[in-house]
Symmetry: C6
Subunit: 272 residues, 6 copies
C-alpha cells in the first residue's frame, strides 16, 4: 500500500513526529561551523516560505556523499519548522511499484500539501524514487518528468510549500536537469578529521587519552573524510561482537566506552 | 484532469486573464532596448496574423536560458493581443499522463482554437511537454511528431492562428527539427550588468548609493549574465529569513529596501 | 468499386481538387529553366503510366530542402494529370495515431487506387509519416516496411499507378533503402539569386528600381539560396505588422508593393 | 489476409503458374555464359532433391544487387521444376502484419510443403520479410529465428524440399547467420557491358548501327554494371513520354525501336 | 505444439530411439584418435553420473564449428548411455514461440527428468533456443537466465542427471556466462586432411587411386579443415544432379563411387 | 505471525535445516587462517545483530570467484546463528518468473523476517536474481531497485535482521550501487597452493607421498588458485569413470584414495 510511503506527521507539538525521529536513531550532533551554517541557511528558507508573498514555493536540494547525514538533517528541520503539514516520502513503500503508482503518489503528496496553508515535504533519496542505476544509465523518466513539473508548479493562491530533496548523486542530477529545478542546492559534507574528533569526543566513545589514536586508526581505513553514518556503524561494531580482543565497558547510560585495541582490531578486520 | 492544463482565457476585456497574469507575479519591467525590440517584433506578428490572408498561421519560438523571462513575455503578449481565443498549455496538469493523453490534449487545443476566427496559443516549456531529458537523450517522439504536424498544419479556411512556444533548449530543438517547424525564432536574453542595474533601480530594491556594489556582489556569484527570474528570487531571499545580519526596511508599498550587508551575506551563503 | 473512387476525387475538370489547390496558396510561378525541366520530366512519367503496358507502376521521389516547393509541385502535377483517381496523403490527420493505424491507411489508399484504371498518389512529407527524428535516429520501422512493400508491389492486372513522394531528407532515405524503392528521384532546388529576382519581378513585389537591392538584402540574411516558401513568408511579413518604418502600398489587385526600407528593417529584425 | 501471400501454384502442366509468370513481365533472356551456368547449377540441385535419399532438404540462396533478376530467376526455375508443390512467399500480403503473423505464415508454408512428396518454396526478398533497415540496424529477430530453424529442420520421413531464397544483402545475411543456414549460395550478377549489348540486341531495342553508342550512353549514366531490371525500365521510359525529341517507332510486334537521340535525352534527364 | 520439441526416448533396449537416430542420417564414422578420446571422456561422465553420490548432476558442453558433428555425437552417446530417461530438446517445435513458452518447456523437461532415477538431456543448438543473433547482439535473456539456473540447480535427493549441450558459439557463451555454467566443455573438431581422407576411405566414396586428388580438390575449396556434415553434403551433390560431366557409378549397396572429374567439377561450381 | 515463521524454519536444533545443509554436500573444511578469520568476522556480525539496539539491521556481502565456497559459508553461518528465522533465497524456484513475481517474493521474504524478533536471510547468487548478463549488460532494474530499497529499509521497532548476500561479480555490483548498499563486504578467496594441499590432506584424497605431485598436476591445469568447489568436482571425476588407467581404491569410509596416474590422466583429459 503506497499510503505507507506517505508518512503523515501531525503538527510538531502533536505526537506523530516519530517517523522523522526514526531518521535520527543516533541523534543530531553539532560537528562544527559547517553544520551550524547549513542549519541556519535552511532555517532562513523555512522563514521565507512562512512570510514572503512573492515566493509561495521554495525548493532546496541537500546533496552529499552516502551516509553524510542528509536524511537526518532534513528530518530535524521538518520537525523544527512546526509547519502544520510535514511529510516524508521515501521509497520504502514502493518495492516493485510501477512508475505510474509512484507518479500518482507524488501528485497526491503535493495535492495534500496544497490543502494546508504552509507545508513542508521531504523527498528522500530521490535517485531511489527515480530507480536510477549508473549502468546505462537507467532511470524512470516518467517519475523524473513528474518531479520536474511538480518542483516548478506554483501552489494554488494562498498556499505555501517548502520542498527538501536529498541525493548523493548531484552530478547525475545536473545531467537530468534536476539540480536546476531546485531554487537552492546545499552540500552536506562528510566529516573532516577534526570534525570526526569532535563527534567522538561529544559521544564519549573513547577514553580521552585514546581519542587521537582512535582517529588515526580510522583515517587509515577510510581516508580523510568519514560519513557520519558510517562512523556510528563502526562504533557499534566495535561495541559488540565476540570478546576475544578487549571488552568494551558499559558506562551506565547506555553508552559504552570502546577500548582502543578493540577499535583497531575491528577496523583491521573490515579492511581485510 | 487534463482540462486543467488548458487554461482558457476569455477576451482580454473579460475577466479570466488570471492564468496569464499568474505567470507575471513580479510584473513586467522594461530592462532596455533589447526588451523593447522583442516586444515590437512580437506585436508585428500578432498584427500579421490578424490581417494577412496569405499567412493564416504563424508560429514563433521564444528561446532563452532558464529563468530569462520567456513565459512571462508570452503571457504578456497573449493578454495584449486581445484575441477572442487565447490559451496557455503547460505541463502542470500532465503529471504522469501518457503520451497519448498529451497528444489528445494538443490536438483538442488546436481544434478549439480553429473554432475562433483569430486565436493565440502559448505552448510553454515545450521540452517538458516532450518529457525531454539530456541523458540518452530521451523524449516522447509521439508528442514531438504531433507537434511537428500541428505546427505545420493549415487552419481551416477563414481561421487564423498564432502559436508562441517557449524553450530553454534551442540546440536540442534544432536536432529535433522543431526549430525549423517555427516560422520565427527569437532569443530572450539574460540580463547584462547594465540591464540588471536598470531593473534594480526600477524596483528601488537598494538605496541608490548601494546599487553599484549590490550589482558587483551579484556578478561575483552569478557571472556576467543574470536570469531575471533568479534576480527576483535572490531579492526575496535577502528580504526575508533570519535577521542576524541587518534587517531589511519595509518601505510601505510592500517593497522593502534591502541593506547591502544582508544582500552580500545572503549571496555568500548560497555560493557556499 | 469505381463509383466510390469517383466520390473521393472527381475528374480534374470536376470540383474537389481543392485539397491540392490549398497546397498552392501562393500559386505556381515559373522561376526558370530548372523548373521547366522538372515539370517536363514529371509529365513524361505521367504519360508513361498512362500508356505503357510493361510498367504498370511508376514511383517518383521529389526531394529538396525545406520549403523548396515540393508539395506545391506534386499537387500541381496531380491536378494536371487529370487521372480519374488522385489523392494526397499527409500526416495532418494522423496526430497521435498509432503505427498500425498509419499502415492501415496506407494499405487502404493503395487498394483504393487499384480500383481506378489509372491513379496518382501523393505521399507528402514521408519523413513525417515515418515519425522520423534525427536524434537516435528514431522512426517507425513498421510504417517504413509498409512503404517499402507498397512501393514495389505490382498493381493488379490492368491497373496503373503513379506514386509521387516528397521529402527533405534524401540522405536519410538512402540509409533507409527508400531512395532505391523509387524508380526515379528528382531534386527540387532552392532559388538561386537570379531565380529569386525572377520570382520577385513576376510578383511585382518591389518597385523595379528597388529590386536589385531588395535581393541583396535578402541574400545577406539567408545566403545564396532561398526556399521559395520562405520568400513568400518574408514578403508577407514585410507587407503587414506595425507601420513605424515605411508603409507598404496596396496596389489594388490585392498585391501590395513593399517599400525597400521596410523590407530591410524586417529582415534585420529576424536576423537579430 | 496472409493467405494472399502464399501463392499456391498447381503442378506445372496445370494452369496457375501465373504468379510466377508475373515475376517475369519482361521474359527471360540468356545474356551469356554466366546465366547459363547459374541455371545449370540450380537444375542440379532440383535433380538432387528429386533423387537423393540422404539429402531430403536442400536450401539455396540467390544473392545479387537490386534488380539483378533474382526473383525472375527463382520463378523461372520453380516453373521448370514441375514439382507437384511450388509456392512463392513475398511480403506483398504482409503490409502492417505482426511478427507473429509472419512466423505463423512461414510455419504453415513449410507444413503445407511437407504434405507433398517433393516441394519447392521461393522465399522472395528475405530482407523484407525480416523488416530489415540499415539504420540501427533493425529487423525482426522473431522472423529471423523462425527462418533459421525452418531452414535447418528436416522434413518428415519420405518428404523432400527445395528452398530458394533471394536477397540483395548478402553481407548482412552473413552477420545474421542466414548465409550459413543455406547449403548453397549463388551470385546473380548485374550485366557487364557486353552482356548489356547482348540483351539489347536480342530485344531489337535499337537499330543495329545505334547499338554501340546506345550502350556507351547508358554506361555514362550507370557505370560499368547495369541491373537487368533497370535496363528494362529505362527502355520503357525512352519508349514513352512526351515526343519533343524524336519519336520512337512502333515495329509492329509490340516492340518499338528507340531512336538514339531520344535514348540519350532520356538518360540525361534522369542524371540531372 | 511444444510437446513435439520434447522428444521422449524410451529405454535404449526399447523402440523409440528413432529421434536420436535421425540425427545420424550418415552414421558415425571414427575418423581417428581425437574422436576416440572425445567418446571416451564422454563415457566417463556417463559412468560418473550413474555411480557417484557427491555429483548427482553433471553438465557438459560440446562446442565446435558448424557441421562438425556435435548433434550426431550427443545423440550417439544418449543412445549408448541406456539411461531410462533420455530426451532431445531442439528448436524445431518452437517456431515463433514466446520466451515464456520456451522457459516453460525447459522447466518441464528438467522436471520430467527428475522423475527418473538417472536421466540424460540433450540441449541441441543452444544459441537457437536463445534466439541469438550476432547483430546487436540480441538474444532471449529470459531463456538464458532459465538455463543458467537449471544448469546449476541440484536434482532432488536420489535423482541423477547428465545434461549435454551443443553450440557453435563458444566465445559468445563465454560472455554470457554459459560456459562457466557447464562442469566440462569439450571441443568437437572439424576434419583435418588426414581425417578427411580416413572418412572418404571408410566410405569407399572414390576409387582408391583417386582418393589423394579428391582430397586435394576439396582442400582447394574449403581450406584445411572440413566440417564432417559438409563433407557428406558435397559427396551427395556430386553423386546426383545432371550427368554431363561423368556419371557416378552405383556400387550396389546404395553407395555410389564418385568419378574424380565429376567431383572436381561440382566443387568448382560451388566456388564460383 | 510468529507461529507461521516457526513453521517455515524451525530453530537450529530442530529438523528443517536441510536446505542449508544441501548447500554443503562436501562438508566444511578449514583450509587455514583466512577461512578462520572470515568465520570469526561473520560471527561478530551475528552477535551485533542479536545484541545492539542502534543497528537493528546489518547487511553483509560475501563476494568471491565462482565456486569459491560462498553459498556453503553463508549456509553454515545461518545454521550456526540459531536465529528463530533463517531463510535461503535462491533463483531455483524462479525459472521463467516475471520481475514482478521476484519483487513480490523478495518483499514477502523481508516481511516474513520482520515477524520474528531476530532473523537471518541469505540472498544467494544475487546476479542470478537480477538476471544479469555481461552482454549489454542487461539485468532487471526492477529487482535491483527492490533490493536497494529493502537492504536500506529499517525493520519495524523491536525487530532485528541480518542479511547475507553472495555474488561472484563484485565489480558489477559496484557499478550498480549494490556494494554500497551493504554495510560490510567480505572476500571469499580461492584456494592457494598451500590451502589446496591442506584440503587434500584433510580429505585423505591421495596417499601422503603422492600429495605434492598431485598438487603440481592440478596447478598445471588451473593455475595458482583453485575454487574449492572445482577441487571437489575434479576429485569426484578422478574417482569414477572408466577404469583403463589405474583404479581408485575404496578406503571403506566412503572416501576412496585416488591413484596419482589416474588423477594426472583425468586432468589432462579436461585440458584437451
Ligand atoms: N549533525 C548530524 N547530521 C546528520 N546526522 C547526524 C548528525 N549527528 C548525528 N547524526 C546521525 O548520523 C546518521 C546520519 O544518517 P543519515 O541516514 O541521515 O545519512 P544519509 O546521508 O541520509 O545517508 P544515505 O546516503 O544512506 O541516505 C543518523 O543516524 C543521525 O542520527
Ligand atoms: N521584462 C520582463 N520580462 C520577463 N519577465 C519579467 C520582466 N520583468 C519582470 N519579469 C518577471 O520575471 C519573471 C520571469 O520568469 P519566467 O517564469 O517568465 O521565466 P522563464 O524564462 O519562463 O523561466 P523558466 O526557464 O523557468 O521557464 C516573472 O516573475 C516576471 O514577472
Ligand atoms: N514554381 C513553384 N514551385 C513550387 N512552389 C511554388 C512555385 N511558385 C510558387 N510557389 C509557392 O511556394 C510555396 C511552396 O511551398 P511548399 O509547401 O510546396 O514547399 P515544400 O517544399 O513542400 O515545403 P516543406 O519542406 O515545408 O514541406 C507554395 O505556397 C506555392 O504556392
Ligand atoms: N536472364 C534474365 N534473368 C533475370 N531477369 C530477366 C532475365 N531476362 C529478362 N529478365 C527480366 O528482368 C527483370 C528482373 O527483375 P527481378 O524483379 O527479377 O529482379 P530482382 O533482382 O528480383 O529485383 P529486386 O532486387 O528489386 O527484387 C524481370 O522483369 C525479368 O522478366
Ligand atoms: N564421427 C562422426 N561424428 C559426428 N558426425 C558424424 C560422424 N560420422 C558421421 N557423421 C555424420 O555427420 C553428420 C554430422 O552432422 P551434425 O548435424 O551432427 O553436425 P552439427 O555439428 O550438429 O551441425 P550444426 O552445426 O549444423 O548443428 C551427421 O549426418 C552424422 O551422421
Ligand atoms: N571451507 C569451506 N568453505 C566453503 N565450502 C567448502 C568448504 N569446505 C568444503 N566446502 C565445500 O565446497 C563447496 C563450495 O561450493 P559453493 O556452492 O558454496 O561455492 P559457491 O562459491 O557458492 O559457488 P558458485 O559461485 O557456483 O555459487 C561445497 O560443496 C562445500 O561443501
Ligand atoms: Mg538518506
Ligand atoms: Mg517558463
Ligand atoms: Mg511540403
Ligand atoms: Mg526481387
Ligand atoms: Mg547440430
Ligand atoms: Mg553459490
Amino acid at each position: 500500500d503506497f499510503e505507507l510511503a506517505l508518512l503523515e506527521v501531525k503538527p510538531a507539538f502533536g505526537a506523530s513526529t516519530d517517523l522523522f525521529e526514526r531518521c535520527m536513531l543516533n541523534g543530531m550532533i553539532s560537528y562544527g561551523e559547517k553544520y551550524e551554517k547549513l542549519v541556519s541557511t535552511m532555517e532562513s528558507l523555512i522563514e521565507q516560505v512562512r512570510v514572503s508573498e512573492k515566493t509561495p514555493m521554495l525548493t532546496c536540494l541537500l546533496e552529499g556523499g552516502a551516509g553524510s547525514g542528509k536524511t537526518a538533517l532534513a528530518a530535524a528541520l521538518a520537525i523544527k519548522s512546526q509547519f502544520p503539514f510535514t511529510k516524508l516520502l521515501t521509497s520504502d513503500g514502493f518495492v516493485g511499484a510501477s512508475e505510474a503508482a509512484k507518479c500518482q503518489a507524488l501528485a497526491k503528496l503535493f495535492d495534500d500539501a496544497y490543502k494546508s496553508p504552509v507545508s513542508l515535504i521531504v523527498l528522500d533519496d530521490i535517485e531511489r524514487l527515480l530507480e536510477y542505476v549508473a549502468i546505462g544509465p537507467r532511470f524512470s523518466n516518467v517519475v523524473l518528468q513528474a518531479l520536474l513539473v511538480l518542483l516548478k508548479r506554483q501552489p494554488p493562491p494562498g498556499r505555501k510549500l517548502l520542498v527538501i530533496g536529498t541525493t548523493s548523486l548531484p552530478l547525475v542530477f545536473e545531467d537530468m536537469g534536476l539540480n536546476a529545478a531546485f531554487n537552492v542546492s546545499l552540500h552536506v559534507p562528510e566529516l573532516s578529521p577534526s570534525e570526526t574528533s569532535a563527534v567522538l569526543a561529544e559521544l564519549g566513545a573513547f577514553d580521552a587519552v585514546d581519542l587521537p589514536r582512535a582517529c588515526q586508526a580510522l583515517q587509515a581505513l577510510t581516508g580523510d573524510r568519514v560519513p557520519i553514518k558510517r562512523l556510528f556503524m563502526l562504533l557499534e561494531m566495535a561495541r559488540h561482537g565476540k570478546d576475544d580482543l578487549g571488552d568494551s565497558m558499559d558506562v551506565g547510560d547506555g553508552r559504552r566506552v570502546v577500548a582502543l585495541d578493540r577499535w583497531v582490531a575491528c577496523l583491521r578486520d573490515l579492511a581485510q
